[in-house]
């Protein structure tokens, strides 16, 4: 399952620049010199992302880590087409992003299931929005609900579910659309550690069948290494790519088993050395601003 076109260079080599898509296929996602500025309420410009270069190959699983507030979520909104870059270019499947593409799925950092719809109706929403007939949409939704283990809960409303179940509804809601590009913004951060491990395994299972390219933002380095083919470390805001690490652990993986491997710990140390510095910078900055 690990043959998905990615050049496995020397284990854990830190490659400050992207390991260019050597295969002939166009990269799934390509950000070149992407910059995003926001106008703050006071009228000043705030740069959230600066000169960001990032390439994600077809079928590749990329995890993005970086200090809080550095611009990870913003980067995902650029790829999704929800926001436009102020400068630079974002390409998805070789075409510049203009508006929201129907190939993209996005699991948001915050809860974003529709509270007034039942679980089933929530999962049906995507296909229905895209014009799939009710019967077929229901069938596909039921299929995905079964896969995330929520078949028995299709009549419930989101407020009647636990946090972990709601997240699984969000996963089903996204996967039912068969996205070629999957953007996930700290999807499991609100969950307890055990549930998180389970969900990570489940995600790997779900992903394995789809061959989609994933960008997975997280603060949990364990999670990042366990899941990804490559881990991208971002600088303190404004975000740019600091370093990219290739995770050469064999697939299929299970989160609990893989984190006990010596190689895992080695990679963890390397990445943490790089990430820790940025986290410290962010913290010092925060302290400086507060003072």
């Amino acid at each position: 399952m690990s043959e998905q076109g990615k050049p496995v260079t020397g284990g854990g080599t830190s490659t400050p620049e992207r390991p260019a898509a050597s295969s002939a296929a166009v990269p799934a996602i390509e950000l070149t010199n992407a910059t995003k500025r926001f106008r703050t309420p006071s009228g000043a410009l705030h740069t959230a992302v600066r000169d960001l270069d990032l390439t994600v190959a077809q079928g590749e699983f990329v995890a993005v880590v970086g200090p809080t507030g550095c611009g990870k979520s913003t980067t995902l909104t650029l790829v999704s087409g929800l926001e436009e870059p102020t400068e630079g270019e974002v390409r998805v499947q070789g075409r510049p992003v203009a508006g929201i593409s129907d190939q993209v799925g996005f699991v948001f950092q915050q809860d974003a299931v529709f509270p007034w719809r039942t679980v089933l109706s929530n999962v049906m929403a995507g296909p229905r929005f895209r014009g799939v007939p009710v019967a077929e949409a229901r069938e596909r939704a039921r299929d995905w609900l079964a896969r995330v283990g929520l078949a028995a809960f299709e009549d419930r409303y989101p407020h009647q579910l636990s946090g972990g179940m709601r997240k699984r509804v969000a996963l089903a809601q996204t996967f039912v659309n068969d996205p070629k590009i999957l953007l996930m913004d700290e999807p499991f951060s609100a969950l307890d550690v055990q549930t998180r491990a389970l969900m990570s395994d489940q995600l790997l299972d779900l992903w394995a069948g789809t061959g989609s390219s994933v960008v997975f933002v997280t603060h949990d380095l364990d999670e990042a290494i366990a899941l990804a083919d490559r881990v991208v470390v971002m600088t303190a805001g404004p975000a740019t790519v600091k370093e990219v690490f290739t995770v050469d652990l064999p697939r299929p993986r299970t989160v609990e088993a893989v984190r006990l491997e010596p190689r895992f710990i080695e990679i963890y140390r390397e990445i943490w050395a790089s990430l820790g510095e940025e986290v410290r910078i962010t913290r010092e900055r925060g302290a400086g601003n507060a003072a």
């Binding site: 909104t77 999704s80 929800l82 929201i100 129907d102 993209v104 799925g105 996005f106 948001f108 915050q110 809860d111 974003a112 299931v113 529709f114 509270p115 007034w116 719809r117 039942t118 929403a125 995507g126 929005f129 895209r130 409303y157 989101p158 407020h159 809601q173 996204t174 659309n177």
Partner: protein
Amino acid sequence: MPLDSTLDTAAPAAPAPAPPATRTEARERAARHRRFTVLGARVLVLALFLGLWEVCARTEVVDPFNFSQPSRIWSQIWQWITHGTAQGSLGEQIAYTLYEALTGWVIGVVGGVLLGIALGRIRFLADVLGPYIKVLNAIPRIVLAPIFLIWFGLGPASKVASAVVLVFFPVFFNAFQGAREVDRNLVANARILGADNRRVTLQVVIPAATTWIFTSLHVSFGFALIGAIVGEYIGATKGLGLLVAAAQGTFNAAGVYAAMTILAVVALLTEGVLTFAEKRLFRWKPADAGDGR
């Protein structure tokens, strides 16, 4: 008070051959008991108030001519029920007022919701029309009632118009706010899932704004009644407001109070219907703490 015994003591006071009362049962019994106590106290307060009023009026502590008295008000209501009013049967008056209030309410609500959502969704419209709506809202709208009487005559149209202007603004502002405050994540999620603008409005913004809109519906039905009554009071051929005006014209204080009482009952009943509809519509919301379980 017997209430105390059921509150804390685990051992049930009831010597009945009931099965050993669990704590849940005891608690349930206490809750039921409490409900009855509250209800009883409520009735007691009303009885005390009416009794005191009656006694004060009979002993001329308060002037029964101006302040009337419960027995007279009741006989007035009874007379209206059995013999009808000067304008026709009592039912007809109620139906008339309700018809005006409801029509005005529906028009005001539909207009308020549509415009509120439109302005909440379309920034350009909000920027252009915003100041005008603020100015209109600043006018004390009840003074428009006489103007409507001149424009639309003594018939129901003038009352409907007063009700509409009273209902429109609170509903509009709530719908506007509701459309503005829709969780941006929900909108983003819908768009990613493939919803176009129309679908976002219909399937995300409107459901999300219904909570806001419904809070305004309760208040605004009261406003619709006020609009209709004031309109009738100023000039009409039928309706509860006219009943008040007529009673006042003949210095019949009991008549004024009787009409007010009928109005209050009508308002409470419609409020009950609204609450029922709301419960059905908001099944997706977590039940509030009072719902038990």
